[in-house]
C-alpha cells in the first residue's frame, strides 16, 4: 500500500509522513484475511490495533496508521490553504497542552522533511521555512508558586531544544509585556485592568484578546510571517456555542476558519479537523511530553460551555464535528485566506508557488471596521455615524467603536470610569479605537494593487 506518487497529498497516504518505515506485517494476522476484523487495524488491515479514534470500536488503528491519519489532516489543511510556504517564518503558539504539543511536533516534522529535501536538492530556489516557538507566561494572573512556573519553563525549553535540527528559537514572554513596560509596573497595570472588568466571562475573554495581541507583537518584532495555533475541533466547537450564547454571531465565521488574516501577522489553524480526544491519544502513544499548567478551571460562560460540549461528546463522539460543520456553513470573511505576495523582492518561483494555492472564495463578507478590543468585524449598520468624523484623537469614543459583546461584558458600565479604563488598555487597542473606521489597509490595497503604480505617491 506504499504510495509511489511523489506529489500525492491525500490524507491517508503514508508518503507524507515517514518514507523509510514500511508497515511491519504481523505474520499471525496476515493469515486471517477477511474474518475477525476486530483484531486488525481498520486502515492497513495488517497490524494489530492499539488505540481507537473517535469512532470508538469501529475505528481501531495501529500506531502508524493513527499517526498518519492525524498528520494527514494537518498536512492537507496546510497545503490546501497555503498556510506555510517556503519563505515563511512560522511562530508556533505553545501553551503546553496536548493540541499545541501535537501542532509543534507536526510543524517540526514538516520542517525536518523540507530541510532534508533542500539538502538533497541541487536547485536551491525554494528555501526551508523557519520555525519559532512562543510560550506566554500568565503566572501573574494566577497564584502559582514561582517554583511551579520555573519547572514548567524548563520543561518547555527541553522540549523545544530536542526538536532540532533544524533549531527553533523559543520566546518565553510574560503576559504583562503587552504593555511595553516591564516588571512590576506591567504586572500592576494588568491586575488593575482585569479588576476593572466585573464580568467573569469578560475578564477571561479580555485576557485571551491580550494573549493574541502579545503573540502578534512577538511575531512582528522578530520577523515572523505566520502564527500557528493548535486549536482543534473541540476548541472550535466550544467557541461556536459560546459565541452564539454571547451574541457574537456575526463575527463567528471569522474566528473558525483555517486562516485569519485580519491581523498584521496572519493566524492559521492547521489542526482544525482534529478532535481533542485523538490528539490526547497521540501524545500518549508517541510519548509527546505535555506541560500541564493548571491555569485554573474556566468559570463563567466559557467553563459552562466547555463542560456542556464534553457531556455531548460523551453521548455522541461525532457531536463536535457536527457543530463545527454547521458553523462552517456560515460565509467566511474576505480576510479568511492568506494574503497574496506582491513584493517583487520575493523570488518569482515562490510567488508562483503561492499563487497556485491561493483560494478565491465565491461570496465572502467584506468588513471595513473592527472592534478595538476583540478585533471582531463589525456590521456596517452597527457603526454610529458620529465616528465618521474621526472623533477626537485625544479621546477616542471607545464605547461607540466596540462590538456589542465587548460593550456588555468588558467595558465598564459607568461612563465616568471609561476614561480610566482607556488608560489601562494596551496601546494597540487604543490605536484601533482612534482609527476605527480606517479598517485594514493592507487588504484594501490588495484589491486595487494591480492598478497602482509603485512610485511611492500611493503610499498612505
Amino acid at each position: 500500500m506504499a504510495c509511489n506518487s511523489s506529489t500525492c497529498n491525500s490524507s491517508g497516504c503514508y508518503k507524507g509522513y515517514e518514507e523509510e518505515e514500511q508497515p511491519k506485517p504481523n505474520t499471525k494476522a496476515a493469515v486471517n484475511g477477511g474474518n475477525s476484523c476486530q483484531n486488525l487495524c481498520v486502515k492497513c488491515k495488517v497490524n494489530e490495533p492499539v488505540c481507537c479514534g473517535i469512532g470508538g470500536e469501529n475505528s481501531r488503528f495501529c500506531k502508524d496508521c493513527f499517526k498518519n491519519n492525524l498528520y494527514g489532516k494537518f498536512k492537507q489543511a496546510v497545503t490546501y490553504n497555503a498556510m506555510i510556504t517556503p519563505p515563511d517564518k512560522v511562530l508556533v503558539a505553545f501553551s503546553g497542552g496536548p493540541s499545541s504539543r501535537v501542532v509543534l511536533q507536526f510543524v517540526h516534522e514538516m520542517q525536518y522533511k523540507a530541510q532534508k529535501n533542500y539538502d538533497a536538492n541541487k536547485d536551491k530556489s525554494l528555501p526551508v521555512f523557519g520555525v519559532g516557538v512562543a510560550f506566554i507566561d500568565e503566572s501573574s494572573t494566577h497564584s502559582f508558586t514561582s517554583q511551579h512556573i520555573e519547572k514548567a519553563i524548563e520543561d518547555i525549553r527541553l522540549i523545544v531544544s530536542n526538536l532540532a535540527p533544524p533549531s527553533k528559537e523559543l520566546f518565553v514572554v510574560p503576559i504583562e509585556s503587552i504593555f511595553s513596560s516591564d516588571g512590576i509596573d506591567g504586572k500592576e497595570r494588568l491586575k488593575e485592568l482585569l479588576d476593572a472588568v466585573s464580568d467573569v466571562t469578560g475578564k477571561e475573554d479580555l485576557l485571551s484578546h491580550l494573549r493574541i495581541l502579545l503573540l502578534q507583537k512577538i511575531a512582528s518584532e522578530n520577523g515572523y510571517t505566520r502564527i500557528v495555533l493548535g486549536s482543534c475541533t473541540s476548541r472550535i466547537a466550544c467557541h461556536v456555542i459560546s459565541a452564539t450564547v454571547k451574541g457574537q454571531g456575526y463575527s463567528l465565521s471569522a474566528d473558525i476558519q483555517y486562516v485569519d488574516s485580519r491581523w498584521e501577522i496572519p493566524v492559521v489553524l492547521p489542526l482544525r479537523d482534529c478532535p481533542a480526544q485523538e490528539l490526547n491519544t497521540l501524545c500518549s502513544l508517541d510519548g509527546l511530553k505535555i506541560v500541564e499548567l493548571l491555569n485554573g478551571p474556566c468559570s463563567g460562560i466559557n467553563g459552562l460551555v466547555s463542560s456542556f460540549v464534553k457531556v455531548l461528546q460523551e453521548e455522541n463522539p461525532s457531536r463536535e464535528c457536527t457543530i463545527v460543520r454547521t458553523a462552517g456553513k456560515l460565509t467566511p470573511f474576505h480576510f479568511n485566506r492568506v494574503p497574496e505576495i506582491h513584493d517583487s523582492n520575493v523570488p518569482s518561483a515562490t510567488r508562483r508557488h503561492q499563487k497556485r494555492y491561493t483560494l478565491k472564495p465565491n461570496g465572502s463578507l467584506s468588513s471595513d471596521s473592527f472592534c478595538p478590543i476583540c478585533n471582531s468585524p463589525l456590521k456596517k449598520s452597527n457603526f454610529p455615524s458620529s465616528l465618521r468624523s474621526h472623533g477626537s484623537q485625544q479621546n477616542p469614543d471607545l464605547f461607540a467603536s466596540a462590538c456589542s459583546s465587548c460593550q456588555f461584558q468588558i467595558l465598564p458600565k459607568d461612563p465616568s470610569l471609561m476614561e480610566e479604563f482607556l488608560s489601562l488598555l494596551p496601546q494597540q487597542m487604543i490605536t484601533k479605537a482612534k482609527h476605527g473606521d480606517q479598517g485594514n489597509f493592507s487588504l484594501l490595497r490588495e484589491q486595487i494593487q494591480e492598478f497602482l503604480f509603485s512610485d511611492g505617491e500611493n503610499e498612505i
Partner: protein
C-alpha cells in the same frame, strides 16, 4: 422612619418602577427589584409591545390558543384575553387542546384545560391522536421504544393543531413557546446541524404559506417570569412534565440553558436574536423551501 440608616434588612427594598411599594421579587430577565403590581404591568406590557411590533393579529381574527393545561398555555390564554379586552384587539379567542393519549400525564392536564374553559370563558375544542390517526402516544412508544418519541409526537401534534384549527375555522394558532424553549431549539438545531429547521425556529410567525399560520407571542418572555406570573396570580395550571421527556435529547439543552441563565440572564435573548442564526438561515434557504412544501401537502384536510 429612620432617615439616616440605609435599608439593610430585606423587605425595606423599594420597587424600582413605582418607588412606592415594597419590592416583592427580582425580575429574572433583568434582575430589577419590583413589586407585584408593577411586575404584572411590565410583563403584560412587554407582550403587548411584541404583538404590536410584529403585527401578530388584526381586528376580527379568530385565534385558537394551543392549550395543554401547562403554565405557558394557561398564562397565554389569561394574558391574551386580558390584553384583548384592555386594548381592544377585537379578537375571537378559542382554546384548542391536543390529546396525545399519554396516561398519567395528558389525561390529568386535560382536566385543567376544561377548568380553564370555564374560568376564562373561552370555548374549548379537543382533538385526539386516537381519532385522527388511530394511535395513542403510549401505543407508539410501545412500538418504537423510549428514544426519539418527541420527534413523532411533534410531527403529529402540528398536524393535529392544523386539523383542529380548520374545524374551528380560525385564522391563526397561538402557542405558548417561550424564550427558553426557542433558545433550546436553536441550540439543538446547531448541535444536530439541522439548518433547515434553524431557519424556521426563531420566526415569531411560521407556516404563513401553509393552511394555518402559527405565532408565538411569548417569544421574548422568560420561562421563569411566566412561572412567577402564574404563581402570583394564582392561575390554575398542571405542572408535571411529560413522562417520556427524561429520555429526550432536549434535556441536554435545557440543563445548559438553566445554568446559563444563572450566570447571565440576557444570554437567552442573545441566542434567539443571534446573528449567526440569521446568517445560517440565509444559507439554509433552499432546504427550507423543500420542507415547507412537504409540510403543506401533508396538512391538507382529508376529503
Amino acid at each position: 422612619m429612620e432617615a439616616d440608616s440605609k435599608p439593610k434588612k430585606s423587605g425595606a427594598r423599594l420597587c424600582c418602577v413605582c418607588n412606592q411599594n415594597r419590592a416583592a421579587l427580582k425580575r429574572p430577565k433583568t434582575l430589577e427589584q419590583i413589586c407585584r403590581e408593577c411586575f404584572y404591568a411590565v410583563f403584560e406590557e412587554e407582550i403587548h409591545q411584541v404583538i404590536l411590533e410584529n403585527q401578530l393579529f388584526k381586528p376580527g381574527d379568530r385565534i385558537a390558543i394551543g392549550a395543554s393545561g401547562g403554565k405557558d398555555s394557561t398564562v397565554l390564554a389569561y394574558v391574551l384575553s386580558e390584553l384583548n379586552r384592555r386594548h381592544n384587539y377585537g379578537l375571537d379567542l378559542f382554546l384548542l387542546s391536543v390529546d396525545e393519549g399519554i396516561t398519567g400525564y395528558r389525561d390529568d392536564s386535560l382536566e385543567t384545560v376544561k377548568r380553564n374553559e370555564l374560568q376564562y370563558g373561552l370555548p374549548l375544542k379537543i382533538v385526539s391522536y386516537k381519532d385522527l390517526y388511530g394511535w395513542t402516544m403510549d401505543e407508539i412508544v410501545k412500538m418504537i421504544g423510549l428514544k426519539n418519541n418527541c420527534t413523532f409526537c411533534g410531527v403529529f401534534r402540528r398536524q393535529a393543531l392544523d386539523r383542529g384549527a380548520a374545524l374551528l375555522k380560525v385564522d391563526k394558532v397561538a402557542t405558548g413557546h417561550n424564550a427558553d424553549d426557542i433558545a433550546e431549539t436553536v441550540l439543538l438545531n446547531i448541535l444536530r446541524g439541522d439548518i433547515a429547521r434553524l431557519s424556521r425556529c426563531t420566526s415569531i410567525i411560521t407556516g404563513e404559506d401553509g393552511p394555518i399560520p402559527r405565532c408565538k407571542p411569548f417569544k421574548y418572555t422568560y420561562e421563569k417570569e411566566i412561572v412567577m406570573y402564574a404563581y402570583f396570580k394564582k392561575l390554575d395550571y398542571f405542572s408535571t412534565e411529560c413522562i417520556y421527556s427524561p429520555n429526550a435529547y432536549r434535556g441536554f439543552a435545557r440543563e445548559f440553558i438553566k445554568d446559563l441563565e444563572r450566570i447571565r440572564p440576557r444570554a437567552i435573548l442573545d441566542i434567539i436574536k443571534s446573528e449567526m442564526v440569521q446568517s445560517l438561515c440565509l444559507a439554509g434557504g433552499a432546504e427550507s423551501r423543500f420542507t415547507k412544501a412537504w409540510h403543506w401537502s401533508y396538512s391538507r384536510p382529508k376529503q
